[in-house]
Amino acid sequence: MLDTISLLIIVPVIFSILFVALPKSLYKILAWAFFILGVALSVKLVMDGTGVVPVPESNFAILENIVFVLEVLVILFILAVSLKYKNWPTLGLGIISAAIFGYTYANVHGAEGAAFNIDQFSQIMILIVNIVGTAIILFATGYMDHYEEHRHLNRQKIFYFTMSFFLAAMNGLVMADTLGWLFLFWELTTLCSFVLISYNMDEEGINNGFRALALNLVGGIAFSIGIVLLATNYEISTLSGIGAYAGTNATAMAAVALPVALLCIGGFAKSAQMPFQSWLLGAMVAPTPVSALLHSSTMVNAGAFLVVKLVPAFAGTNLGTAIALFGAFTFVMTSALALSQRNAKRVLAYSTIANLGLIIASAGIGTPLAVAAAIMLILFHAISKALLFLCTGEIEHTIGSRDIEDMSGLINKAPLLTMLISLGMISMLLPPFGVLLTKWVTMEVASSNPIVSIFMILGSALTTVYYVKWLGTILSTTMDKNAVHHQKPETYFPLSFLGLCIVATSILVFSIYDAFIKPQVATMLNIAPSVTGAGGQFSSEIGTFAYALIFIVIALAILIYYATKNMFAPRMSSYYLCGENSLEKDRLMFRNGLCAYDKSSASNIYLQNVFGESKLTTLGYVISILLIVAALAGGVL
């Protein structure tokens, strides 16, 4: 199994070097190869089974040195760029990180070994990172030329290098068990994110990059303090060690609460939870594949991943409740914020934060079913969001805008693309798709805490609103057809592939649950959630999610539609425009008072003055910071 693990880290690194070394014309071939390899490797890892894989003694020393060198390089890089761009906050944070690193190196004696821990959760993450991730890179080869052409850039080598390198770091992150190593991978992903956000090298990009860097450094500092505390006070140096230590009894849980809370704060920052959310929104200036890969389906999940992994250390404690509240609060707040956004990528960004909040909330609830829901949501959300982001990018290239309002009538301009993005949206808000299944599970399990469930209820209503608004807009008809058609296999294959994944995972949800999630929760919490999957229903003791029934009914509806379609011969007619249509010009044109023609149009309601960023953000900051303080206080007391 160790081979597979090393390959999963080494292959992306090799590809990143290949991308730099080989000319642009070969990128497509490279990307296809990468995709196939990624799928193969991740499947291989799943086949290999689970278990903790220690790094052999012989290699440990040299690897540990590599890790040390890399960490120093990371810190130097941060210091260097912040000096170069005179970004003092980042510089300050970099210096603090360096100090902590120095302190750790000097005072905490090094571990004797390192290990990778391959559990079912890691397997899922590996599948996401390597299948969805390489699909996104494949998409990028069909996307970046156009992107750069419009912006007069020529930095694709850096782009592909970073993207591939990021996959390596991400693979490491989800597999590593040793906290020190984990932290290195953690910081590496932060760096990749920084590089990619400032990809355009314009002022906005660089500023947003630094904001991301700074906020993640804050999280990183919390993380490293947590590691130091764990190592010095409890001699814990692995992630699984925390669970093992805390899982024993309530006093132990209380004891490790503070470092665990600190680790969680690191996770919150990475997952862009409420007081940190601004970096993820800023990150939307990056090219869409970056948003799809780092900022929705993989890297930001690392935070939630960490929190879920820590569940054994806080399940059922006050800290857990605080985390649940915090996550649920972020969910409702960012959902409300998404309501007022017209920029599709910002909507998706907020939606991402909201869903991560939901994952964190479920983790905080900490019952077996809740943890199962959290893990499943990570999976389903990653696939749907990757699809949504990529489609948004493709739409942007098709119509030249990412404003939701400009997308009206997309179904006429790019039917296939519209179907795909609609599938993505529907999978985010309606049954029988996986995301809603997990949302349903979350709501059911959260029902024992009324505040959390009220937050979730409000949040999910808000989610429905902003997605339906968008969905309706793209499915509406308008007649102007100024769209650029490109139907490259590199773009449409990944899109269709992700769409298929959504449907397939949703249909196979119970098998996935049985194969991955159930054993994972069982190992983490020592009890498996009591869920049965008979008759295409996902049932627990508190309810039943009849997904198969809905799939059948959808099929039935489609059947009925086609059966009845020709019973009533349809006749196309003009629009009702109070009688003032002009049919010669455009079906939506009407004659105005000056005897000239105007085009009628409709835009959606955004409620900026209620749910606008300026109205809600401050409130969000205050409450979320209070909640974090409460979590910390709960951790100490």
């Binding site: 349903w440 309706g472 008809t477 009914v553 196309m572 409709a602």
Partner: protein, 289 residues
């Protein structure tokens, strides 16, 4: 699934639209009487639907009738799930599919009136959906499961535990029946600034389908009210009748309000009293497993 279940399904499939049609007919008749008129025959909604299916199928968007099918099918599904006492949360989600289908259907036509109407209907979701889910949550807190079939285990009827949610649900009925004061997204009498709102571009069979969907929906909605006293069929039905009368009387004594106003009221009053009710239930009746 035994033969009794199949019988039940068939009964719902056939009985609900008849019942819904009668409800719509009584509504129109009663409204007319409240307005001092004689009003249409009781079976008028039936005549309307039959007529609509005989009309020319005029469309502006090839897919617009697809959404109608989705709407109807999922309204029926949610009704069936209600009848079989399935998971309440799930029922609400399934019901959401149907509402969304109608909204998207309206928007898909591209007519500016329909799109503005749909936007308003989206805002309506924001006002009623949380209350519906709170209703489900109350059921869970009381019975330990979301399954409606568990209501029979309660010692007192639901109404006794959640009277405030009942009040909120009355207003939800008002919103979902699309009656004044909440008939801003589409209305049965088209005297509103958006023509027929969401349904402006629907005609003939498409509209007929929507009407049939409405019939099922009426039964479903009143079924939700019935659940407040499901242990006693007579009183349960009485509650449904009260809700129905409430909707009609509200329709006749109020002007249409803005969706903004409704959002404000539902989030500031209805939601608050519902949440208060939930908290009461939580602290007094909820026994964690």
């Amino acid at each position: 699934m035994n033969s009794f279940d199949i019988l039940k399904i068939v009964l719902v499939l056939i009985g609900a639209p008849i019942l819904g049609c009668l409800i719509a007919g009584i509504d129109r008749k009663l409204t007319a009487r409240l307005q001092g008129r004689v009003g249409p025959p009781l079976l008028q909604p039936y005549y309307d639907v039959v007529k609509l299916f005989k009309k020319d199928n005029m469309i502006v968007h090839p897919a617009q009738n697809f959404y109608v099918v989705i709407y109807v099918v999922f309204v029926i599904l949610s009704l069936l799930m209600l009848v079989f006492g399935m998971d309440m949360l799930m029922i609400i989600f399934v019901y959401t599919i149907s509402s969304v289908a109608l909204i998207v259907g309206g928007m898909s036509t591209g007519s500016p009136y329909a799109r503005v109407g749909s936007s308003r209907e989206i805002m309506a979701i924001l006002s009623y959906e949380p209350i519906l889910i709170l209703y489900a949550l109350a059921i869970y807190l009381l019975t330990g499961t979301f399954k409606l079939s568990a209501l029979s285990t309660l010692s007192s009827p639901l109404l006794a535990y959640i009277p405030l949610i009942f009040i909120s649900m009355l207003f939800v009925m008002n919103i979902k029946f699309k009656k004044s004061p909440f008939d801003y997204s589409t209305s049965h009498h088209a005297h509103q600034e958006l023509v027929k709102g969401m349904l402006t571009e629907y005609s003939g069979p498409g509209l007929g389908g929507i009407e049939i969907g409405h019939f099922y929906e009426y039964v479903f909605l009143l079924g939700l009210m019935f659940m407040f006293w499901s242990s006693n069929i007579i009183i349960g039905l009485l509650l449904a009748v009260i809700a129905f009368l409430f909707v009609i009387i509200m329709d006749n004594i109020t002007a249409r309000v803005y969706w903004q106003w409704m959002l404000k009221v539902s989030w500031s009053i209805l939601l608050i009293i519902s949440i208060a009710n939930i908290l009461i239930v939580y602290y007094f009746y909820f026994k964690p497993a």
